[in-house]
Amino acid sequence: MKKSIFRVLSVLIAVVMFAGALAACKPAEVDPAEVAAALPREETLYYAGLQWGSVVGWNPYSSNNNNALAVAQGANARIVMFETPYMYNMIDGKQYPLLADGDYTWNDAMTELTFTLKDAAKWSDGTKVTAEDVAYTFDTHIKYETSTGVGVADYVEDVVAVDEKTVTVKAKLNDAGQAVNPLVVSAYVSDNYVIQKAWTETLEERVAGDAEAFKADPGDDAIGSGPYMPFYDDDTKVVLIRNDKYWGKDKSMWGMLPAPKYLAHTIYADNNAGFLALKAGEVDISQQFNSNVQDLWLVDNLPISTYLDDAPYGLTASLPTAYFNLKSFGLDNVAVRKAIAMAVDYDTIIANAMTNQSPTFNQVPRSVMNPTDGEQALYDHAAVADLQWAGNDVEGANKLLDDAGIVDTDGDGYRDIDGTKLSYNAVCPNGWSDWQAAIEIVAAAGEKIGIEITTYFPEWSVYQTVFTDGNQEEYDIFMVWSNGAGPTNPWGRVRQLMSSDFAGTTGNWNGNWGGYVNPRIDEIIAEIPQTTDQAKLVELYTEATEIYLTDVPSFTLMYRPDQFYTVNESVWTDFPAATDGRNIPPMNLADGYGVAGLYYLTLVGD
């Protein structure tokens, strides 16, 4: 009996040893699914609030990837997998070189922008990033009419590879021989990825030149130059893995690899699920609107922080704005518009709807600028001080209306114009909770000044078809977001708020949804991009602010961050914060210059 056991055991041992020897012959195969199922916590940076639903693709030419962790181009492009020549930093408004070597230069006529690429810059397959890649990326965007291509086609004539390392971006010229818009040209180099020419050609071959198929391809084989590569994704999570051969560890760039080996994003069912995970330390960095976020450290005493320690907790950059539909009865009257805007209690909107995650209008008086120092310096505060209102000024609003002769003539409690009662709806999409709460407070203001305002919250699918139609008469006062921080702002925001180009257009995703027309503001909008003299620029922006605050085509309800930013230091520490003096914006450690934060992270206790 004993003997037989021994025999069986020896056979078993032999089998195990043989199998082990076999396995040793081959390099150990890693199954991403298995690794992703239990990522080592101390090597993984967990996100929340970026990715909702499973990833569609990795194709940087597509605008339908639903791949928030890896692919997002624009003013603060997400540069963990693909990279841009420059990184925008919303704190100081500067563009820092990434793939590019040093600052770009303009020719004297401001029609051509030239930069060179870093010698060290390489794709993840080991080949060099060349000027030809940059040029071919632009050509492809134009050829296949991608959303990037359509967006820049009116401003960028061509991108040319001068030699292997040197790239020139040529601006489209107007009749006077000037660049149509130098701002958009300089934004091009930090907004858009450089995509590998070889991979682009593979993709073109695969779709046989079909533009729709080209943009719809999932691009699973896409090759980037960034520090991370796709590792695993399913309907519960997305995981990126560090490319340990990343070129950026060269002295000419970061000089090291980013700290986390994996970037992972669990796909949460809703905001509350993500909030709970943050609280439990399962999430390191959260891009969610977490209401009353300060309770996490003040009450629960958790190692959780935001960019600023006190309200407004983050760096706000955009201006959610309520537009007046100038076709609505009575709203063509500036007194009515201004009275409503003056009567709204913005302090309550900010304290209740935003739970203080926005500066108040006493702290940052209203203008066309966001609260960043760079933009605030662009207008003369004293010159428009008389025009700015902080809100909750019921008396002033009533006086304004009385003086304009808009009074209640029939005694029903509401003011009339020519015998017709002033009655409006205030609208925002259903489920956008902080906006809904804000709109409620707008409606409450109407009651105080004798103007009937009722709230209305249609579904987003309906809302988006109505407010983008310049001829709609369904919504009277309705909320839309604004441009955040970027190289083309605040010019882009002035244009968005007031440009006549957009007035009355259909399918309008660009701006001026209320249909405001003013030839003078159009001149200013045309002039700003051509202006390099700082004093002149301030003069133009001040005038734009004056016009905006005088005519009140719309009014800002609150300030809001580009990206919400809450970090939990249970595992990682040294996240970017306002007080650390590193000048890194709180942008997910992934967007624009925010990516620099990845190189400072350390483990708690190390």
Partner: protein, 416 residues
């Protein structure tokens, strides 16, 4: 009738349910007589004020002051800022800084504060300390500012001419005011919600609305169910077949699915409380129909019904005089349950965002929805949702108790 009522009030279950229900009803009726605020008025700038008595800080300075020498006052004052957790934390920081443990006596406030003031440096971040912890110490340090100061606090008013501050009043450590003599005191027994609204006022109003919704939904469902059940049961034949065809059809489709689809297609702008109640009513009549029909079938060949038929009475007369009284007890009980399930259905719909449009009138479901959107349950703001849950539970509990009690009265087989 009198006998039934008499019997019912001898059933302890019915009485308990009835008393709870009446108490709720009394609250809904009488509370607005005392607190006349609009239930949706935003009174707080900020979210989720905890329950308590709010005293105007400004007005306390104008209220008559009394001097009281309370021995425990100083201890309370220090204890409010410097509890055990804070003392431990200070020791931890001082040890990390390099002070020997033996030299730190955390029970001696004066000594601890002296050590702290001498060594604490907000810029220091020790090995292994997170920046969140560093900020905690900075906040702690700030909160200890002036903790041991015994001098009075001075209230200063700016001079309108020079702009310089001039002392107008000094507040001693022994000064007290009587809350009854402060001009503005607001009691918020349940705090405020995410909009800064008084929770209790809103809750009472919401219970009223929810009861109305339940009543309307219950009435609609019972009327439809009763009518169809009577017709199917008494007339029979083709009418029965057709009615039962639809009844079975609706039985097979879960009510909640229908409810969601109808609510969604109505659109939010049209969803008032009454509309939602009617929608709930028209999707929950099937079981009443089936039960009524079954009872009517067993009744329609009874002698007194046949007698009535022979006497030439009309169908309506027979149904109302000879059949309805016999099933009335069941109908009343079904009605009570329909009210209860109507209230629950509204809460369910509202949580999904398909209930009555927000901030028109408060309902129990909407209150829970907003509490959830603003993460009250994650942030432990229990007063924003727990009272609502208790209210819903109490309403359906009382209605169900009344139902069970009545059941025992009507059905001798169930009597204990």
């Amino acid at each position: 009738m009198k006998h039934i009522l008499h019997e019912a009030f001898r059933s302890p279950k019915f009485v308990t349910g009835f008393v709870i229900f009446m108490a709720i009803l009394a609250l809904v009726v009488f509370y607005p007589l005392f607190v006349t605020d609009h239930p949706l008025a935003i009174i707080g700038q900020g979210t989720f004020f905890p329950p308590g008595i709010y005293v105007s800080v400004y007005d306390t300075t104008n209220a008559p002051q009394y001097t009281m020498m309370l021995p425990e006052a100083e201890g309370n004052r220090i204890g409010a800022k410097l509890g055990d957790v804070e003392r431990e934390a200070m020791r931890e920081w001082l040890i990390d800084f390099g002070i020997p443990r033996a030299e730190i006596d955390i029970d001696d406030t004066a000594k601890l504060m002296t050590l702290w003031d001498a060594y604490y440096d907000p810029a220091l971040r020790f090995q292994g300390m997170t920046s969140a912890r560093q900020k905690y110490f900075a906040r702690l340090d700030a909160s200890l500012e002036g903790l041991l100061v015994m001098e009075p606090r001075v209230i200063a008013v700016p001079n309108t001419e020079t702009g310089a501050f001039e002392a107008s009043q000094s507040i001693e450590l022994t000064d007290f005011v009587n809350v009854n003599e402060v001009a503005n005191v607001r009691v918020l027994p349940l705090g405020t919600d995410n909009f800064g609204r008084d929770m209790l006022t809103q809750l009472v109003s919401a219970i009223g609305t929810s009861l109305q919704i339940g009543l309307v939904a219950g009435t609609v469902a019972t009327l439809i169910g009763l009518t169809l059940g009577l017709m199917a049961g008494y007339i029979g034949g083709l009418v029965d077949d057709v009615i039962m065809f639809f009844t079975n059809l609706f039985t097979a489709i879960p009510g909640i699915v229908l409810l969601i689809l109808i609510s969604y297609s109505i659109g939010q702008e049209n969803r008032g409380a009454v509309t939602v109640a009617v929608v709930i009513g028209v999707t929950s009549w099937v079981w009443t129909t089936r039960a009524v029909r079954a009872q009517v079938i067993s009744l329609r060949n009874r002698d007194h019904v046949n007698l009535s038929k022979l006497s030439g009475h009309s169908i309506f007369h027979i149904i109302f005089a000879d059949i309805l009284p016999y099933i009335l007890s069941y109908v009343v009980m079904a009605f009570i349950l329909q009210i209860s399930s109507g209230i629950l259905a509204e809460a369910g719909l509202s949580i999904l965002g398909l209930g009555p449009k927000t901030t028109d009138v408060p309902t129990l479901g909407l209150m829970m929805r907003w509490a959830m959107i603003y993460s009250a349950h994650i942030l432990n703001k229990w007063w924003a949702f727990f009272p609502v849950i208790v209210a819903i539970a109490l309403i359906s509990f009382s209605l169900n108790l009344m139902n069970t009690g009545l059941d025992q009265v009507f059905n001798p087989a169930l009597r204990e």
